[in-house]
């Protein structure tokens, strides 16, 4: 579904990613793990088209999306839930969703399906996004990305700062999207949460993809986890 072939990129003259390759299959939750500064968020931004590729290629369903400008990447079916949510705070819940729907020209039926996943948002449609609680904001960020009808979903620390009930709700939706065949690339710092939902895990270190493991095989392998996440 989504394939990164030796991509390199960075900010200004500072290189962050060095020849990163990985594949996210349809109906798979693939998790990126690594210490701060390893390049997890940069990988997400590069896929979303927000950083130019210095080398390598990114393919979605075999079609090259690496050289596309960011607004065209979204239209190919890449949904992005960034770290910190980055909602349009002064727009209402309904307006945030409407921009999501506009990305690929989705209709009201898509919005209704998305709202069925987050009934609480239905009660807040006229409310400004910045006035929602942290958990509701994360729901909205997720719902906005689902309005794209994504083939690939990029989730950057979706449970950051949320209470346990919200984390469970977000996790349920992620698992449901996997069931619907969406390829999911997840950045998550809580290793227990990762191992509970992920199918495969790729460890990033200093901008390089070091190892990819099946999540089931990684359980109990503390020495591997400590190697990439220990301080």
């Amino acid at each position: 579904m989504l394939e990164l072939k030796g991509i390199s990129t960075g900010y200004g003259a500072a290189q962050v990613l060095r020849e990163v390759s990985l594949e996210v299959r349809a109906g798979e939750i693939h998790c990126l793990l690594g210490r701060n500064g390893a390049g997890k968020t940069t990988t997400m931004k590069a896929i979303a088209g927000l950083l130019p590729l210095w080398a390598g290629a990114i393919a979605l369903d075999g079609a090259e999306i690496g050289p596309l400008p960011a607004h065209k990447v979204g239209r190919t079916g890449v949904g992005y839930i960034p770290q910190g949510r980055r909602l349009w705070g002064e727009l209402t819940v309904a307006q945030n969703l409407e921009v999501g729907l506009m990305t690929r020209g989705a209709g009201r039926d898509v919005r209704e399906r998305v709202l069925d996943l987050f009934p609480r948002l239905r009660e807040r449609m006229g409310q400004r996004a910045q006035t929602l609680s942290g958990g509701e904001q994360q729901m909205l960020a997720t719902a906005r990305a689902l309005c794209v009808e994504p083939k690939v979903l990029l989730l950057d620390e979706p449970t950051e700062g949320l209470q346990p009930s919200m984390i469970a709700a977000i996790r349920d939706v992620i698992v449901r999207m996997r069931g619907a065949g969406v390829a999911i690339l997840l950045v998550e710092l809580r290793i227990d949460a990762v191992l509970a939902v992920a199918d495969r895990v790729t460890f990033l270190e200093n901008g390089r993809a070091r190892e990819t493991w099946a999540a089931a095989e990684l359980r109990g392998r503390h020495e591997v986890i400590d190697r990439y996440l220990g301080v």
């Binding site: 088209g49 927000l50 607004h71 960034p82 307006q95």
Partner: protein
Amino acid sequence: MRLPGRAAAGNVAGMEFGPYLMLATLEGAVTAAVLALTAVGLSLVFGIMRVVNVAHGEFFMLGAVLAWWVASWFGGHAAIGFVAAAVLAPLLVGALAALADVTVLKRVDYDPERTIVVTIGLLYVIQQVVLMTYGPEARPVEPPFNARLALPWVEWGESGPALYWPWGLSTTSYKLFVIGAAAVVLAAVWLLMRHTRIGLVLRATQMDGEMAQVFGIPVERVYAFTFGLGAALAALGAVLIVPIQQAHYLMGGDPLLLSFIVVIIGGLGSLPGTVVAALLIGLSDGIISVFFSPTLAKILATLLVALVLVFRPQGLFGTRAA
């Protein structure tokens, strides 16, 4: 902007305070109406693109000069030339600004510092091209209508309030039209921003351009549209004022200064704030100019900017950056 009120003030020497104040307020309202249009254009460009457009006053001037050209070319009844100018001048100026965006601003990546330098360059290019082609003369555009309207005043006599028409208390139908037209255009801009899909796209880009791109919004095209719209609003303001104040290649300086004052007081990027500040500055400019002097009006406006920057840097209606 030259104040039409100063000319009127000379004719009404000896008028009582109340009618005199009403006259000054009306003249100030004309200034405020045109200033609001011009400043909203500047505010949109800064709010959405984060570009401080130093050439904004030149787009105003270009609107006035093109209005003269278009009106002269059409000939016939003044109304035909004026309507053609009101349509064509903002469109042409908007298209030119969009072209400048694509060919110049985009190339400097909309970098805040470099766009200031670039728009200073644009200011001189436009000004000098107009000087070389249009010349140094000030030229008027005939108003489409200009009936003088005597205005009533209320006087409390022994038998209660009674209307009378003081000598010299009058305005023109065209000045009232300027105020009305500006109000209609400002309402249209507000509706565009609040209740249309284009407005939604513009606001999403204003709040977080990077996320707007992620959700399929072609931000560079939005920027070209915004720069064009901002310039077109300034040009429309100039078309409205040019039958009162002649077109001249150096007329862009005051609108630029006053627009910056208004936008800073109202809050950068805030449309309601910009309109309220334009009313405040326009009306006070009109009234203070008539009663005291135009220089004092400018001094007080600049002092107000200083006070706002010290005590409320985000402006009266702006929100503080997180």
